[in-house]
């Protein structure tokens, strides 16, 4: 078990290294000269452009730029945002809690809707409950985030005046306001994932319910509630956990559209704005941080499997 854990963690480093080379290479493919963008309306002055390139090492060969950056990263220095001159590590630490809060809330909403709905529709397969939950799930999957977001703003902020239309208040500053600013975006995000979770839970439950051990459990005369929750659900949850961690990882990578609409200053907004402003150090830092989160989460997913299914522990 411990050797397995160490081996898994050992795989993370080369993954990140390869990824960092990829980010650097892809950036070069991105059209648009960062010096031109940074110069803004001063871009007509060749002196200004030369000065920016020199200051940001943009006049060096790519491999030198990469090694320079990598050297700094290994010392914990992700560099400065070219646009606002804030340290990238500070930006990441500032935005991570925002995205984490939003992702957690969205995930809880998705779980609360998706898993019970999936169980219900599997147990009452081809009955009205199944039809209704399927219809709701389909709505959740197929509604575009930006449309649902704008509609919610119009209803709850403009019409009813219950919730602030956009912006963000940190949890530590004012918990009530914080929830008020994040509940709409969390619902928009959670709604989409709930549909996916519901469909997967339903499918896994249907498979589990047709297994021999379920028939045996029923034959033993166990109450249906126990059969469903203890025997079927536990086995059905494995694919759901996989999916859940992937979806949670995606949420942590930042919900680009939703964050833009609700002006939530999280990872998604950070990276999109950085790409449009060609703020390379921010792009590199955020992608690397996201990758780290992803590989950590997949590790967590594996650990969760073992908790749910003891047979996997031997492997």
């Amino acid at each position: 078990m411990w050797i397995w854990l160490l081996r898994r963690m050992g795989q993370i480093l080369p993954t990140l290294l390869i990824l960092s080379i990829l980010i650097f290479g892809l950036q070069q493919l991105m059209p648009g000269d960062p010096a031109l963008i940074l110069a803004g309306e001063e871009r007509g002055d060749p002196q200004v452009l030369a000065q920016i390139r020199a200051e940001l090492f943009l006049d060096r060969p790519l491999w030198q730029q990469y090694l320079h950056w990598l050297g700094n990263v290994l010392q914990g220095d992700f560099g400065f945002s070219w646009r606002i001159r804030m340290p990238v590590s500070e930006l990441i630490l500032e935005k991570l809690p925002v995205t984490f809060q939003l992702a957690t809330m969205a995930f809880i909403i998705a779980l609360l809707i998706g898993v019970p709905a999936g169980i219900l529709s599997a147990v009452w397969r081809d009955r009205p409950v199944d039809w209704v939950t399927n219809a709701v799930a389909l709505f959740g999957i197929s509604t575009p985030n930006f449309w649902l977001g704008i509609m919610m703003i119009l209803l709850f902020s403009v019409q009813l005046g219950w919730l602030p239309p956009s912006g963000y208040v940190p949890l530590t500053e004012d918990p009530v306001q914080s929830l008020a600013t994040t509940i709409m975006p969390a619902f928009v995000l959670g709604n989409g994932i709930a549909g996916v979770l519901m469909r997967h839970t339903r499918a896994a439950m249907l498979t589990a319910l047709s297994q021999d051990y379920v028939r045996t459990a029923r034959a033993k005369g166990l109450p249906e509630r126990v059969v469903v929750t203890k025997h079927a659900l536990r086995n059905a949850l494995i694919p759901v956990v996989t999916l859940g961690t992937i979806e949670f990882g995606r949420l942590l990578a930042g919900a680009v559209l939703t964050e833009q609409i609700f002006t939530i200053p999280g990872f998604g907004k950070l990276i999109v704005d950085a790409v449009f402003n060609r703020d390379y150090p921010v792009v590199q830092g955020v992608v690397l941080a996201t990758a780290l989160i992803f590989v950590t989460l997949s590790l967590v997913a594996d650990l969760l499997y073992m908790t749910i299914n003891p047979r996997l522990r031997a492997a």
């Binding site: 059209p31 648009g32 000269d33 031109l36 963008i37 940074l38 110069a39 803004g40 309306e41 001063e42 871009r43 007509g44 002055d45 060749p46 002196q47 200004v48 000065q51 920016i52 200051e55 945002s81 646009r83 606002i84 001159r85 804030m86 930006l91 500032e94 449309w147 704008i150 509609m151 703003i153 119009l154 209803l155 902020s157 403009v158 019409q159 005046g161 602030p164 239309p165 956009s166 912006g167 963000y168 833009q260 609409i261 609700f262 002006t263 200053p265 907004k269 950070l270 704005d273 449009f276 402003n277 060609r278």
Partner: protein, 501 residues
């Protein structure tokens, strides 16, 4: 669809309960870059500086230069400018604003590594302290645009003590002499400033606190105004105006801007200039004659903008009144094409920044010029990429705008002069160059205006170097509870005299 729903929702909209009376919340269209007057570049940053950093001079509604931290100026000779300073001005850190601070700030703008002010005031040879209330600026050459430069970031005076202590990090905590002092900034989220009690003109400041909130999505910025979550929204869209006019809690103010939107033509920048459009002014004239600027403005911008044929807007005293757009004339356009000996349909490519309204502009122009014999191909490109393509010469025509400057030099020189940094089409006419150079160093208003008029007639009327289309308007929407907003064409939000009920 979304917008229609919004309009419908608005009709029944009420407001969220009154916000704190003293806190003014302003929704910005973008997130500003670094808040260091020497290093910053974005237009939106200037809106925040209007509260934080006073300048030597300011401009008023008529674009006249008025004193701010200065009390007056005098040209000792065409190369020597003496500026007298206001007494009793303090920086936010309590230090006194004096001639030494002015010298320090101008030198910082001129010499700091990465300064974006250098090119604006590069004509300055030396700044001398005459006495604590007087500075003398010596120029390398006479300059007609120096004073205008000092009404913007180059004229902002920083606390030397704070600037020395912070170095390149000054922008994370700027210390200036404006009506408000910096409180905090959370990137992409908010910038907060509070009233500075020792401000030299404190009697005109009635707002306690200003929070700037970057809300890039237009629909969401409008929803924030409708719900009362912000009191001021800047640079709103023309099609929001109808919605806002129907809401008694909101007011709309539209001010002519300093800049323009136009079409740059590749005349001499690399192989892609080798087209009839690039080689022959008659073909360019035909293209221009095929465009109906009024219709374009009606279709895309609800008729809110001002059609134009020149880079200087009507709000500016240097605007040439009798150089008006010619009416659309398809027959003359066709005749010009025949005269130029081109076979129609003539294929022309236009690079268009990839945003919805400019793409629509491109489509309308495409339909208009087709009737004259042009087959216009649109090439939509993300903005950063389009700038690079234009600089490289990888374009035939380019639909591009400019935010504009108070002084006409800033709207003309670098775009039109041979070798000008933003002359992407590489237009060149030695006669025009001579006129522009002369205008640059002329300090007499009438003479200067005549020089610009001659240059513009040559470059645009005769050579058709560029096609100017319209001057935008800064559309500002604010809460009916807010009074005292004074619209100035630069689009900045000056908090002086503003009150919230």
């Amino acid at each position: 669809m979304i917008r229609k729903a919004l309009v419908a929702a608005l009709l029944a909209a009420g407001t969220i309960g009154a916000a704190q009376a003293q806190n003014l919340r302003i929704g910005l269209r973008e997130d500003p870059d670094i808040l260091d007057p020497t290093l910053s570049r974005t237009y939106v940053g200037r809106i925040v500086y209007a509260a934080l950093c006073d300048k030597l001079f300011d401009i008023n509604e008529k674009l006249e230069i008025v004193p701010q931290l200065a009390t007056g100026y005098r040209w000792e000779d065409p190369k020597t400018l003496t500026i007298t300073l206001r007494d009793g001005v303090r920086f936010h850190d309590g230090e006194v604003m004096d001639a030494e601070a002015v010298r320090y700030s101008l030198n910082r703008h001129l010499t700091m590594q990465g300064s974006f002010r250098r090119s604006e005031i590069s004509g300055i040879e030396a700044v001398e302290v005459v006495d604590p209330r007087t500075v003398r600026i010596r120029l390398k050459n006479p300059s007609g645009s120096l004073l205008a430069a000092l009404t913007d970031r180059a004229g902002m005076i920083l606390s030397p003590k704070a600037a020395e202590a912070a170095g390149r990090n000054f922008g994370t905590r700027p210390v200036c002499a404006g009506p408000f002092r910096f409180v905090e900034r959370v990137a992409q989220e908010r910038i907060v400033v509070e009233r500075f009690p020792e401000y030299w003109d404190a009697g005109r400041i009635h707002i306690q606190r200003v929070t700037y909130l970057p809300i890039p999505d237009n629909t969401v910025r409008l929803a924030n105004l409708q719900s009362g979550a912000i009191e001021f929204g800047e640079r709103m869209e023309p099609d929001d105006v109808k919605t806002v006019r129907g809401n008694r809690n909101l007011r709309v103010v539209a001010v002519e801007e300093l800049g323009y939107q136009g079409i740059t033509i590749n005349i001499n920048n690399g192989p892609r200039a080798e087209t009839p459009m690039g080689r022959d002014a008659r073909v360019r004239a035909a293209f221009e004659l095929a465009i109906d600027r009024d219709a374009l403005n009606q279709v895309v911008y609800e008729g809110m903008y001002t059609p134009t044929r020149q880079p200087v807007p009507p709000a500016n005293p240097y605007h040439i009144r009798d150089f008006r757009p010619e009416p659309r004339d398809v027959n003359r356009a066709r005749a010009l094409l025949r005269e130029a000996g081109v076979t129609t349909p003539l294929t022309v490519e236009m690079t268009v920044p990839n945003n919805p309204d400019l793409r629509q502009v491109g489509e309308v122009i495409q339909a208009m010029v087709r009737e004259a014999g042009f087959d216009l191909k649109l090439r939509a490109m993300e903005f950063a990429s389009s700038l690079q393509a234009a600089a490289r010469g990888d374009f035939e025509t380019f639909l591009v705008g400019w935010s504009g400057r108070t002084d006409p030099d800033g709207n003309i020189y670098t775009f039109t002069r041979t070798g000008g940094g933003q002359n992407d089409g590489r237009y060149s006419n030695p006669e025009v160059d001579k006129l522009l150079d002369a205008a640059r160093s002329e300090t007499d208003f009438e003479k200067r205006r005549d020089l610009y008029a001659q240059a513009i007639r040559l470059a645009l009327g005769q050579d058709r170097a560029r096609i100017y289309l319209w001057h935008r308007k800064n559309i500002m929407v604010h809460s009916a509870r807010l009074s005292g907003y004074r619209p100035v064409p630069d689009g900045l939000i000056r908090i002086q005299d503003m009150r919230l009920q």
